[in-house]
């Protein structure tokens, strides 16, 4: 069996204050939800979570497969996990698979990873919304989490037992192509889920050889908020064992949610604690694990800015509701009188794959000059085909000059662009994202982030942008 040896979370920069929806539509709501920006999708958020996960992974773990689960895939027919695989610069000998459609796919990916024969990177990512004014819109959230499973450990959470109660019933569903889910009457879901959860938890406790009082922390997540609340109470665990499910601040991030809440707990829990996780999605799953001493060593490897709490605290809450609707494609606004962005073409994207996805520069073997994009002829010494590839995705950079383009096409104008100089050499002109235009200045520190530049003709143009370096990383 594989054990979980690292994890990483990505909570997007933007929050929608639910009060903004209320102001526009007269609904009631409090708190915030996390919002994927206009240049993010489940694939790009998955990349960001996976980068954080791999950055803290134990030495020597070579990812053998990527399992990507989402209810909101960027592509059908074409695998999305391959873009994540490429952006992480993984070996082509590692597989990449999607597990898509339902939130329950996320549990499937975790189960498959635990029982896999090769080190497995599980990426759970979701963008959850619904029709304007509805509960899914305000209650949903966007985010991603990644877990690395490997044979040799050390495990951050050792598995003690599991219980499953699978059931076929029509609580939540969405037809292919629809932009929102449909739900049966809320009380029906509660009726269906509560006994399933009780059954799964009983089985898990039994297989772990524990009584209810042997559990230190309880996480309940699921696609049915009311059922999750009722289950939390009906299981009978003391209130202090119940872990905050974060829906008040980031919303329910669907496929990613059980993982994000677990990650938040692992960020701060002591070793030796027994954690029960209950997930409600087309049945119920319960898993019991115990945190290990390896957590402290792992935390020492991981930059503090990557913690769930830090990312939540760094969120920007001034997103207005029309902009949110525009980003989600629910408000069609007048475009600028400019041509549409040009979609990338497939042959050039394949030829330049290590540049476009893995962000490889080339470095001259003769004089050391770095080139972005990779070049064959050195701009400094003129050497031809004397280049080595070098990944710069994790290399910080500094703004050399910048502009705010109010003419260029964007779903979220204005476009902020900067010329950035990488530590150790190399310059590139790129878009900036997750940035307040008024704060950009020469000398600002930035880091690279994988984004969806545009979507034209059904083709997603994935590439890297710069964003302000998060505190503590410059």
């Amino acid at each position: 069996m594989n054990v979980m040896v690292s994890y990483g979370v990505y909570v997007p920069y933007w929050r929608l204050d639910r009060g903004r929806i209320g102001e526009a539509l007269g609904t009631f709501g409090s708190g915030t939800r996390a919002v994927a920006s206009h240049d993010e999708d489940t694939t790009t958020m998955g990349v960001e979570a996976a980068r954080a996960c791999l950055a803290a992974a134990p030495d020597g773990v070579e990812v053998g497969q990527v399992l990507f689960a989402t209810s909101d895939p960027a592509y059908l027919d074409k695998t999305n996990a391959t873009a994540i695989h490429a952006a992480l610069d993984l070996d082509s000998g590692a597989s990449a698979f999607d597990m898509m459609g339902s939130v329950n796919s996320g549990s499937g990916a975790l189960v498959a990873a635990a029982s896999a024969a090769v080190p497995t990177l599980v990426v759970l990512s979701d963008i959850r919304t619904g029709l304007p004014g509805g509960a899914d819109e305000s209650g949903g959230g966007d985010g991603a989490v990644a877990f690395l499973f490997a044979q040799d450990g050390p495990a951050l959470l050792e598995s003690l037992g599991r219980g499953v109660a699978t059931e076929e019933f029509l609580d939540r569903w969405r037809s292919p192509g629809d932009d929102h889910s449909r739900l049966w009457e809320e009380r029906f879901g509660e009726h269906a889920y509560v006994p399933l959860a009780e059954q799964a938890v009983a089985d898990a406790l039994k297989s772990a050889g524990l009584g209810p009082d042997g559990v230190d922390r309880v996480i309940v997540t699921g696609v049915h908020p009311r059922a999750a609340r009722v289950v939390s109470r009906s299981l009978g665990f003391p209130a202090e064992t119940l872990v905050d499910d974060l829906t008040g601040v980031i919303g329910n991030t669907g496929t990613a949610h059980q993982g994000i809440v677990l990650a938040d707990l692992l960020d701060r829990v002591e070793p030796g604690k027994v954690v029960l996780r209950v997930t409600l999605a087309d049945g119920a799953r319960a898993a019991i694990g115990r945190t290990t001493d390896a957590l402290s060593e792992w935390r020492a490897r991981r930059p503090s800015v990557a913690s769930v709490a830090t990312q939540i605290a760094a969120g920007r809450t001034d997103l207005d509701y029309p902009r949110f609707l525009t980003w989600r494609g629910q408000l069609h606004r007048e475009p600028p009188r400019r041509p549409d962005p040009t979609p990338p073409v497939a042959p050039a994207s394949l030829r330049k794959e290590t540049w476009k996805f893995a962000f490889h520069a080339s470095r001259c073997d003769e004089c050391g000059t770095r080139h972005l994009p990779p070049a064959r002829v050195c701009v400094s010494c003129g050497a031809v085909d004397r280049m080595s590839q070098e990944r710069l995705a994790e290399t910080p950079a500094t703004v050399a000059t910048y502009t705010v383009d109010r003419l260029a096409f964007s779903l979220s104008p204005p476009v902020v662009a900067a010329v950035v100089d990488f530590d150790g050499g190399g310059r590139f002109r790129c878009e900036m994202t997750d940035v307040d235009p008024d704060t950009v200045a020469i000398g600002n520190r930035v880091e690279m982030t994988f984004r969806r530049i545009s979507t034209v003709g059904g083709i997603h143009n994935y590439f890297w942008k710069a964003r302000p370096a998060r505190e503590g990383e410059s």
Partner: protein
């Protein structure tokens, strides 16, 4: 190894230039017929007297047919070329070389652009299919990158720099206001320029050149033949064109306060023309003021002002119509408009008028009467860090 040049070996003996602007009633064909006919008439030649043609257009047609079809040329060689915003100047340069080589006696350089049929705001440039990794920024955004870099390097406060940029636009509009061929023929108050809607960075709409349609043409012959056509030929003193290695876009040593390509082209053209003090020797200059920060940086790159001082010179009026070295007396790209393929030849047209004393009195520069006989034209295409640049020096007298 510097280029040897063709100083005083060829001369312009006739020119034509259409008004620039929104020619809703004219296509590229019409504009070409208009400027070619005017140039033929100016030189006193017929189309069959011209042995070969060089047509510059960025996107208003492909192949020599773009010119031979509307002019109904009699099986003449027509080269269609493109070199971004230096396209018109490239047509001129190549035509000059053909005449200088002796391959032809008479050549025409003609440039045209029909931009206003695109239906879009601003300039639209199609690019070959690619991997989508290059940020698709607008032209004002790319040139606005100069502003914060210049401010930072020379300690010019952002608001002060805005005043400088505003004054450059104001000056060009003032010049354009007295040019009947210019797209914009009104003076614009500085407050209007300064408060115009922001396009990119510090650049408002009035910091950007006019998107327009237009065409311009020149007839070129060997210098020794020039007086058969006109008493006042304009001699080609130096022609330089460089395409940079696009180093600035990838090299952290480039600081976005200069165009290395312009510096190199200017050095080359000055050497060919025997110019060692451009500010003193030139009667005027037509420079590529696609955006106001471009003109600011060009003052320094072309040697009109010391590094870090052009902003003060601009404020002091050094480059005004009645200043020490008038720059863009015809209004420049800013007010005359910028139909890409025509712009380089439009610049030469102003040199043609001014050096021959044919500019209207309200636009006549004083330096000619003061005895200066050289004028400069300059184009650049691309963006800071990765561009092409052209510099020419022309004069009203052959060298002694």
């Amino acid at each position: 190894m510097a280029s040897k040049g063709i100083r005083d070996r060829v001369a312009i003996v006739g020119m034509g230039c259409t008004p620039f602007g929104e020619h809703w009633d004219k296509g590229a064909d019409d504009l070409l017929v208009d400027s070619a006919t005017a140039a033929f008439d100016s030189a006193g030649v017929a189309k069959d007297d011209v042995d070969a043609y060089w047509l510059g257009t960025m996107g208003s047609g492909i192949s020599g047919l773009t010119l031979s079809r509307p002019l109904k040329l009699d099986y003449k060689p027509v080269t269609r070329l493109e070199n971004m915003c230096a396209t018109g100047s490239e047509a001129f340069r190549n035509a000059c070389y053909a005449v200088a080589s002796g391959a032809v006696d008479t050549a025409m350089a003609i440039g045209v652009e029909k931009l206003k049929d695109s239906g879009f705001s601003g300039l639209v440039v199609s690019r070959p299919p690619d991997d989508g990794s290059a940020a698709e920024l607008s032209a004002p955004a790319l040139f606005s990158l100069l502003a914060p870099a210049y401010s930072k390097k020379y300690g010019v406060d952002k608001d002060e720099l805005k005043n400088v940029l505003t004054r450059i636009a104001w000056k060009n509009h003032k010049n354009g206001a007295v040019n009947p061929r210019a797209q914009f023929r009104r003076e614009v108050p500085m407050e209007t320029i300064a408060c115009s809607p922001i396009m990119a960075g510090q650049l408002g709409i009035f910091d950007c050149s006019g998107v327009s349609d237009g065409s311009a043409a020149a007839v070129i012959v060997r210098a020794e033949d020039a007086h058969r056509y006109t008493d006042k030929p304009i001699y080609v003193k130096g022609l330089s064109f460089v395409a940079g290695p696009a180093a600035g876009a990838i090299d952290p040593d480039y600081d976005y306060t200069t165009f290395t390509e312009v510096v190199r082209a200017a050095e080359d053209a000055y050497q060919q023309a025997g110019v060692d003090d451009p500010r003193a020797q030139l009667a005027m200059a037509e420079v590529h003021d696609c955006f106001t920060p471009t003109e600011l940086v060009l003052y320094e790159d072309l040697g009109f002002a010391e590094r870090g001082t052009a902003w003060k010179e601009a404020l002091a009026g050094t480059f005004d119509l009645d200043g020490e070295l008038p720059v863009n007396p015809d209004g420049g790209l800013k007010a005359f408009g910028h139909p890409i393929g025509a712009s380089g030849l439009r610049m030469l047209f102003e040199c043609w008028l001014q050096l021959r004393g044919e500019a209207p009195p309200e636009r006549t520069i004083k330096s000619i009467a003061a005895g200066k006989k050289l004028a400069l034209t300059h184009n650049l295409g691309g963006s800071p860090g990765e561009c092409v640049s052209f510099v020419s020096v022309v004069g009203s007298e052959p060298s002694a």
